[in-house]
Each structure stands twice: as structure tokens, then as C-alpha cells.
């Protein structure tokens, strides 16, 4: 199944997502400008724009960082996760406008070229009010650029998923740099405690969400290990998996998707052969597990693509005891047929 790369793989969902995102951003910029003009009528247009885009980027960054743990804590946030790339690219563009305007405002009028002047400014590491906070912002912007520029599937394929993920972990470094950039920059000549309070609350919220999601996953892992008999590991209750959908669990260091369909259960590696898309976030379409990213299909009982295609993913043994689902964490070679576990139809106890 080869398909050509598109600039953006549009779907009605993504269009709506982007429309809402664009609307929220425009609304925020307008509101922020209005409020600032009312409170500080003396502000210059440049400063207003620098602040509007800077705070917009900061808010978007918090949204980007919150979505991951939110989706892990509550499946209802998952749809937000699907299009996080567009959120990330939008955030980078807002940050870029902020950085470009600030560089222009503070460095365009001297003798040195603006970027040189920026790099050579405020080099006092021992002073809070003269700390090189602009360089911190520039470093963060470079990281965000690399992430935005590599957000296309082409890069996921060229870099491979582990490298791509590692690169995109850079968002946490960028976040730290940006928090320092705001704390040592804008907060130094801000009299009202509003911005400092909001920034602090943001940091606490992001850290708290990550801790909560991590603790919850660790607890689930412990439960599963405790329940294991003859190598099979308890995964969840039958009724926790919706018809035509999957439940994703981490076994043997990788994710496994357990699908429920037509009264049966089958488990496959969660990693699509195409570009490592998350199969467990896809659905059963025409009897096949269908990858949510580009639609590659696999037969649930064998992990093999229906002919004429030849992609295969590893499969896992599944069984149901007392309406609880157990999976053998040892992967079978890709494409190995496994008899699906049968779910008794009587919705009650088994």
C-alpha cells in the first residue's frame, strides 16, 4: 500500500479543529489587545503586538503540553490529541511573530545586525534584571522550529519513530527555556503579580497533570503484573472495550492493541507497519483493523494485511476468563494467525 505524501492529510475533523483553533487564536489576540488598550492607552503598537503574540504562544504551549496527559487520564480528550501537530505548528508561528517583532523593536536600530545585537545583549549571568533572557527565547524558538519543521509524516519516516519522538521531547526543554525567558524578561518589569501568578499556576498544572498520568499508569502496570498466571497478563474487563474498538496496554516494553469485534477479541502490536501509527486508536472497518493515520488495514486474527497487500504486524494470544481479558505478553512472529477469544454474549457474569 503505497500512497503519495500530501501537504496535509485533510479530513473533516481536522478542518473543524483548525477552524476552531484559528477562531480561538484570533479571538484571544483581539481581546488581549482591547484589554491592554483600555488599561494602558500609552502602549505602542509594537509592544502591544509583541505581548499579544508572546502570551498567545505561551497559552498554546500549555495546551500542547496538557493534551498528552489529559488524554491518558480520560479518553474523551483523545480527539484533541489526533491533531496536536497543527496546534504545535500554530504555537511556533505565534512565537515566531513574537520573536521577530521583539528582535526588530529592540535590535534593529543599532549598528550591529539585529541577530548579532540580540546574541551580544545582556550577557550578565549574575544579574536577574540583566540576564540574557532574549537568548533563552531564541534557543526555545529554534527547538520549536525544528519540531514544527519535522512534524510531517515524511520526517517520521526519515528519522524513524524513536528518533522523532526523542526530538519532539525537546518541547519540555523549550518549555523550561520559555518559563525562564518570561520570568527573567517580562516579569522583571511587570508590577502587577498577575502574569507571575498565571505563569506559576501554568507550571504547577503541567507538572501535576504529568505526575497524575504517570502515577495512574504505574498503578495499572502493577495491577497487571500481580494478576499474571502462566504468563498471561490481565488487561481489563471485556465490557471496557467498545465494539469495533481497541484497548491499548503496554506489554513487553511495547504497546499492544486488543480489539473487540463481532463477539470476539484479538490482540495485535499497536505499531502500524507503515509509519508506526497507533493501530489501537483506529477502528474495525470491513472486518479489518484500520490504522487511524493513513488507513492501512490488518486482519485482526492474523495481523496480516488482506491480499494483495503484504504488511504484517506481530500478534498475541488472548483469552477471556470471567469476562476479564488476559493477553500473553510474548509477541508471535508478524502475521501469525491466533484463534480469537470468544466473548460470551450474555452481558452478565461469565
Amino acid at each position: 500500500m503505497s500512497h503519495g505524501y500530501q501537504a496535509v492529510g485533510w479530513s473533516p475533523f481536522k478542518k473543524r479543529y483548525d477552524l476552531v483553533l484559528g477562531g480561538l487564536l484570533a479571538g484571544y489576540l483581539a481581546l488581549f489587545s482591547l484589554a491592554t488598550l483600555l488599561l494602558r492607552p500609552e502602549i505602542t503598537a509594537e509592544t502591544l503586538l509583541i505581548r499579544a503574540f508572546g502570551t498567545a504562544a505561551l497559552l498554546l504551549l500549555h495546551a500542547v503540553l496538557a493534551i498528552g496527559p489529559l488524554a491518558r487520564l480520560d479518553g474523551r480528550f483523545l480527539p484533541l490529541l489526533y491533531n496536536r501537530r497543527h496546534l504545535g505548528v500554530t504555537m511556533f508561528l505565534a512565537a515566531l511573530v513574537h520573536g521577530a517583532l521583539a528582535t526588530f523593536q529592540f535590535h534593529a536600530l543599532g549598528d550591529a545586525p539585529p541577530l548579532v545585537s540580540l546574541l551580544a545583549s545582556n550577557t550578565r549571568l549574575d544579574s536577574l534584571s540583566q540576564f540574557p533572557f532574549q537568548q533563552l527565547g531564541l534557543a526555545a524558538l529554534l527547538i520549536l522550529f525544528l519540531m514544527a519543521a519535522t512534524s510531517h509524516d515524511f520526517w517520521l519516516a526519515q528519522l524513524t519513530a524513536p528518533v522523532w519522538k526523542a526530538l519532539h521531547m525537546g518541547v519540555y526543554l523549550a518549555y523550561a527555556l520559555i518559563v525562564a525567558h518570561v520570568a527573567l524578561g517580562a516579569l522583571q518589569d511587570e508590577r502587577s503579580p498577575l502574569l507571575a501568578g498565571a505563569l506559576g499556576a501554568g507550571v504547577v498544572a503541567i507538572a501535576g497533570l504529568h505526575l497524575a498520568a504517570g502515577r495512574r499508569e504505574a498503578a495499572l502496570d502493577r495491577e497487571r503484573r500481580a494478576a499474571g498466571a502462566d504468563g498471561f497478563v490481565e488487561v481489563c474487563g471485556v465490557d471496557e472495550i467498545a465494539e469495533g474498538r481497541a484497548r491499548v496496554v503496554t506489554l513487553g516494553g511495547e504497546r499492544v492493541a486488543v480489539f473487540r469485534y463481532e463477539g470476539r477479541l484479538s490482540a495485535l502490536s499497536n505499531v502500524c507497519r507503515h509509519q508506526n501509527g497507533p493501530l489501537g486508536e483506529g477502528r474495525i472497518v470491513d472486518g479489518c483493523v484500520t490504522c487511524p493515520w493513513h488507513g492501512y488495514q490488518y486482519l485482526p486474527a492474523s495481523g496480516a494485511s488482506p491480499p494483495p497487500f503484504s504488511e504484517r504486524v506481530p500478534t498475541f494470544r488472548v483469552r477471556v476468563v470471567d469476562r476479564r481479558v488476559f493477553v500473553d505478553p510474548r509477541p508471535l512472529p508478524a502475521g501469525t494467525p491466533v484463534a480469537p477469544a470468544v466473548v460470551s454474549e450474555s452481558g452478565g457474569g461469565g
Binding site: S2, Q6, F154, E254
Partner: protein, 91 residues
């Protein structure tokens, strides 16, 4: 060297790297189309795809140049825990 000298050199080097990257990206994506060689999905790709990956190609050009010169015809295959275990001949 004063901070200004250091800054001047950093900006010059970064500028040279980016200029080389931009030139490479144009050749790689539009003129010589090396991208079609190293990734089959690019062959049928749209024009928009080429523009949208351009900034990244200009930034990470040494990686793609190396793969192009080495005659790669497919994106690299990654290994993960399941594929290793399933292929590793477990009884």
C-alpha cells in the same frame, strides 16, 4: 574576542549553514528530486508536500544528503521491542 565578535561569528556560521540548506532543499525537492529516490511515497506526493517539508530539509540537510549519496531507496526501518522479540526466534 568581545561578545560582539563571538555573536558575529555565530550568526555568520548559522547563516552559511542555512543558505547551504536552502540551496540543497530546492535542488533536493524540486530540481534534481533526490527526495523521490530516497522515499517512494514522495514520488506520488503533491506539490504542497514539497513546500511543507522545505524548512525541515533546509535545517536537516546533512542527514538527507548522506542518505541520498548512499543511494538509499526506502526510509530506514526502525526496530522496536515487538519486532525484535517476534523475529528473534522465540520457540
Amino acid at each position: 574576542m568581545t561578545p560582539l565578535d563571538v555573536a558575529t561569528w555565530i550568526v555568520r556560521l548559522a547563516g552559511a549553514y542555512a543558505a547551504a540548506g536552502l540551496l540543497f532543499a530546492l535542488l533536493f525537492l524540486f530540481v534534481l528530486r533526490g527526495v523521490d529516490r530516497i522515499d517512494p511515497s514522495a514520488r506520488a506526493g503533491s506539490r504542497g508536500f514539497r513546500w511543507i517539508v522545505l524548512p525541515g530539509v533546509a535545517a536537516l540537510w546533512p542527514l538527507l544528503l548522506r542518505r541520498w549519496l548512499a543511494g538509499a531507496s526506502e526510509p530506514p526501518e526502525e526496530s522496536n521491542a515487538h519486532r525484535r522479540a517476534a523475529a528473534g526466534g522465540r520457540g
